[in-house]
């Protein structure tokens, strides 16, 4: 039983940000009921990666079976909805909205990630929620907060990423001829926003145990991403750092970067004299290093020296294997690490030791090793107790539980 086991959460979310927030709470034991559209379910059920299924005699014979099965194949949905219950409810009808109101009566928290304005349309107007439901914690995750400017109504993670500074400034040491990059994968912005939402919801629940009062929490994805670069942006907005249109404005410079190895890639960080001296030992005091002045990275870091240093690093690393090079480097104080991919992580002794991947047996997709969470709590660890629900799997139990709650 984990840290949030006594709390009930209603999840109205239909995209990654709100679903990941619900998952983070559910993996700590919160009882999360996910509301889905009858027949179609959450849009994330139609997004990949999809599991390949073991053939069943009904496949291809029964169209209705096939379409239901297709809604249970998404690995994305399976990942984002562990430990949750699924209840279908049609919120486009008055009866659906009335049932929703009863469900809201029975929970501590509501999480939503529809565009601003939607909550009001289902009877949960943020502007009046504290008067009507003083004990409810209502959290809304949107691209730009509750009052988006008229030219920011339509948003995806990519466009939010580009209004946060991360887009324009990624990658570091960018090639001016090439476009800035989107970041990693499809949903970085959503996962980041979910972290802030989970933090705020949990803090609100902490206080509510004493005050009995809920709150409205308005998470802006743009603000989440911009706040992640506070170390730089805080200096810029205070007038302590140059504010320019250079794509390298967030960069640190120097020879650090990703280099090709025999078996993939490695990343090397270099900023201090100790790194340079460690590298000298690692490489056996090569001739080329003698041409560099002492403390050059701090005091005389010219583009020519950076290019030269990177050239030699590249020449050396392409003869190395990433894990071996990293182990040798770390012993000498050189911060060289492997650039891992998904396969490396599943076989990593470190990840295995910490059991970062957990075996989950999905009712349709079968067993797989899911990524879990990055924190280990000694008394209340996060845990995947049940796989993601089938569409509407808990509609009857969730709604019949309401019978006892009638006034």
């Amino acid at each position: 039983m984990s840290a949030l086991r006594t709390f009930k959460v209603l999840e109205l979310s239909e995209s990654v940000a709100g679903e990941y927030c619900g998952k983070l709470l559910a993996d700590f034991g919160a009882q999360v009921i996910k509301i889905e559209k009858p027949g179609v379910g959450s849009p994330t059920r139609r997004m990949g990666p999809f599991a390949r299924l073991t053939p069943s005699p009904l496949m291809g014979e029964d169209a209705s079976f096939d379409s239901r099965l297709n809604l249970e194949r998404s690995g994305l949905f399976a990942y984002l909805n562990t430990n949750k219950h699924s209840a279908t409810l049609d919120l486009s009808t008055a009866a659906g909205v009335a049932t929703l109101a009863k469900l809201v009566d029975a929970v501590d928290v509501v999480i939503d990630d529809h565009p601003s304005g939607w909550l009001k349309s289902v009877g949960l107007d943020p502007a009046t929620i504290e008067t009507h439901r003083p004990s409810l914690v209502l959290c809304s995750i949107t691209a730009f907060g509750q009052d988006p400017p008229p030219d920011r109504i339509h948003a995806e993670d990519l466009t939010v990423f580009h209004t946060s500074g991360w887009g324009y400034h990624t990658p570091s040491a960018s090639n001016e001829k090439l476009p800035p990059l989107k970041g990693a994968g499809r949903f970085m912005v959503s996962y980041e926003a979910a972290l802030d939402a989970s933090l705020c919801v949990t803090a609100a629940l902490y206080e509510r145990m004493h005050s009995k009062l809920g709150r409205f929490i308005d998470i802006s994805k743009q603000a989440v991403m911009a706040s992640r670069v506070d170390y730089v942006l805080g200096q810029m907005v205070a007038g302590d750092m140059d504010v320019t249109t250079r794509r390298t404005a967030f960069d640190l410079g120097g020879p650090a970067g990703i280099f090709r190895c025999l078996d993939g890639y490695a990343y090397i960080w270099m900023s201090a004299p100790a790194h340079w001296e460690g590298l000298r030992k690692l490489l056996g005091n090569p001739e080329w290093m003698n041409a560099f002045p002492e403390r050059w990275m701090e005091l005389e870091c010219t583009p020519e020296r950076v290019a030269q240093c990177r050239h030699h690093l590249a020449e050396w690393l392409k003869t190395q294997e990433k894990e071996q090079a990293s182990a040798a480097a770390q012993k000498l104080g050189v911060t060289l690490v492997a650039v891992n991919n998904a396969s490396d992580l599943q076989s990593s002794p470190q990840f295995q030791h910490r059991q970062f991947f957990a075996r989950v047996n999905h009712q349709v997709q079968g067993p797989a090793h899911y990524p879990t969470v990055p924190y280990k709590l000694s008394a209340t660890p996060a845990k995947i107790e049940s796989s993601a629900p089938l569409l509407g799997q808990h509609t009857d139990t969730s709604l019949s539980a309401l019978q006892g709650q009638q006034p």
Binding site: L4, L24, G48, P49, A51, R52, G75, L76, P149, H154, E156, L158, V160, F161, H162, G165, G167, Y168, P171, L181, K182, G185, Y191, E192, D196, S198, L199, D218, S220, Q222, A226, R228, L233, V237, A238, D240, M241, T244, R246, F250, R260, Y267, Q330, T335, N340, A342, S343, L345, Q346, P349, Q350, F351, R354, Q365, A368, Y370, P371, P374, K376, T380
Partner: protein, 401 residues
């Protein structure tokens, strides 16, 4: 001086930080923004580099000020037994302690979890490390880009067919800090229900892995290793950044066939909408390289902000790619109170980056980062109840200053 009550959900919670640089201090910042009282333990003997980086005045260091608003500072020399005793005494009066020192350093100092727990049984003890607290690689150290490389995130950022480029070098510390802050508050909630504290071990590398969890699922289910794919997206096309006038860029994400038609219309490029190679999402995905070239040619003479507004008007997700200038000048972020003014002890105002959230009954965020040891008197006098003479003795012996 008494405790400053700033409201917010964590008012009344006391957090002690033994942290350095960015990720650890970011935990304290988030908790302070939620109303907790956050006390940094600092000393001249082991000064945070962000207090000295690029400046002479340790009380006026821009990087430190950016990440430490709304906190208190107490000066205690951690390298003396008397200093460690003082810290343990302070922890007895605290709820959460956060540390991100080098692997094993907290134990060597005599402030490991077992010791602290003996003094304060229900403490929530947050320990942050690149690889977490244990495991065969836990001895290794690194900086933010190392977390992203090790965690599987960097390998997904890059141009198609090229070596990974990785996220901007600044990425990772603050995300790591947020994961730690969430876990800490979950533990606090458990403690309020049961009286039981606990040890929390947070891994920076695993935090990065959790930012690409769906890509890891592709391997878990199908043994597919995803690769860098430029700006592509499995469910949207076009999806990318295109050059406009004056080397500005526009980001566009087209999520449906009707959005595609609207996009072509707003771009004044009906020939794109009519082009059979691009009619459906599947068509656009097959011909994506050509699609990108054709769009890039048509955005080149457009103003990025104007084009974004026109696309928005047509219902397409688009935005100018914000440079630092755009970001600092963004009226929406100012209007939301994301950039806000705080004041230091001497009445000097300073603009800081506020929280990502707005909430009802929020904490007042009004204080600038502390000078070194600014709250010595409050911590030693009000919290620990030391007499003026005792405080003077600590100062004279160098344990505190």
């Amino acid at each position: 001086m008494t405790q400053r009550l700033r409201g917010g959900p964590l008012q009344g919670v006391r957090v002690v930080e033994l942290t350095k640089v960015w990720a650890g201090p970011y935990v304290g910042k988030l908790l302070a923004f939620l109303g907790a009282e956050v006390i940094r333990i600092e000393s001249m003997e082991s000064l945070d580099v962000t207090r000295t980086y690029g400046v002479k005045d340790i009380n006026n260091a821009p990087g430190f000020q950016a990440v430490n608003p709304q906190k208190l500072s107490v000066q205690i020399d951690m390298k003396t037994p008397a200093g460690i005793e003082l810290i343990l005494d302070l922890l007895r009066h605290s709820d959460i302690v956060v540390e991100n020192l080098r692997p094993g350093a907290i134990d060597r100092l005599g402030l490991g979890y077992a010791t602290v727990k003996a003094t304060k049984p229900d403490i929530v003890f947050v320990s942050m490390g690149m690889h977490g607290n244990d495991g065969p690689l836990a001895y290794q150290t690194g900086y933010a880009p190392c977390f992203a490389a090790l965690g599987g995130l960097s390998s997904l950022v890059g141009y198609e067919g090229e070596p990974p480029a990785g996220m901007n070098v600044r990425y990772a510390d603050s995300t790591f800090g947020t994961a730690a802050a969430f876990a800490a508050v979950a533990a606090l909630t458990h403690r309020r229900q049961t009286g039981v504290g606990q040890f929390i071990d947070v891994s920076a590398v695993e935090t990065m892995s959790s930012m690409v969890g769906d890509a890891l699922m592709d391997f878990a289910l199908n043994k597919v290793v995803q690769d860098c794919d430029g700006n592509r997206h499995a469910e949207m096309a076009p999806h990318g950044a295109y050059r406009c006038l004056n080397d500005e860029w526009i980001a566009v994400a087209v999520s449906s066939d009707s959005a595609w038609e609207a996009f072509a219309g707003a771009l004044n490029a009906p020939e794109l909408a009519d082009d059979a190679r691009f009619r459906t999402f599947a068509d656009r995905q097959v011909n994506e390289a050509e699609l990108e070239r054709m769009i890039a040619r048509r955005t080149l003479q457009r103003d990025a902000a104007e084009l974004a507004a026109a696309l928005q008007h047509s219902g397409v997700a688009a935005a100018k790619s914000f440079s630092s200038v755009d970001l600092v000048a963004d009226q929406h972020l100012w209007g939301r109170g994301f950039f806000r003014e705080v004041t230091d002890r001497r009445g000097q105002a300073r603009t800081v980056v506020g929280p990502s959230w707005n909430m009802s009954r929020a904490a007042a965020i009004v204080d600038a980062a502390p000078r070194l040891g600014e709250q010595n008197a409050y911590v030693f006098g009000d919290i620990l109840g030391l007499s003026t003479e005792e405080q003077q003795r600590l100062s004279a012996t160098g344990v505190a200053r």
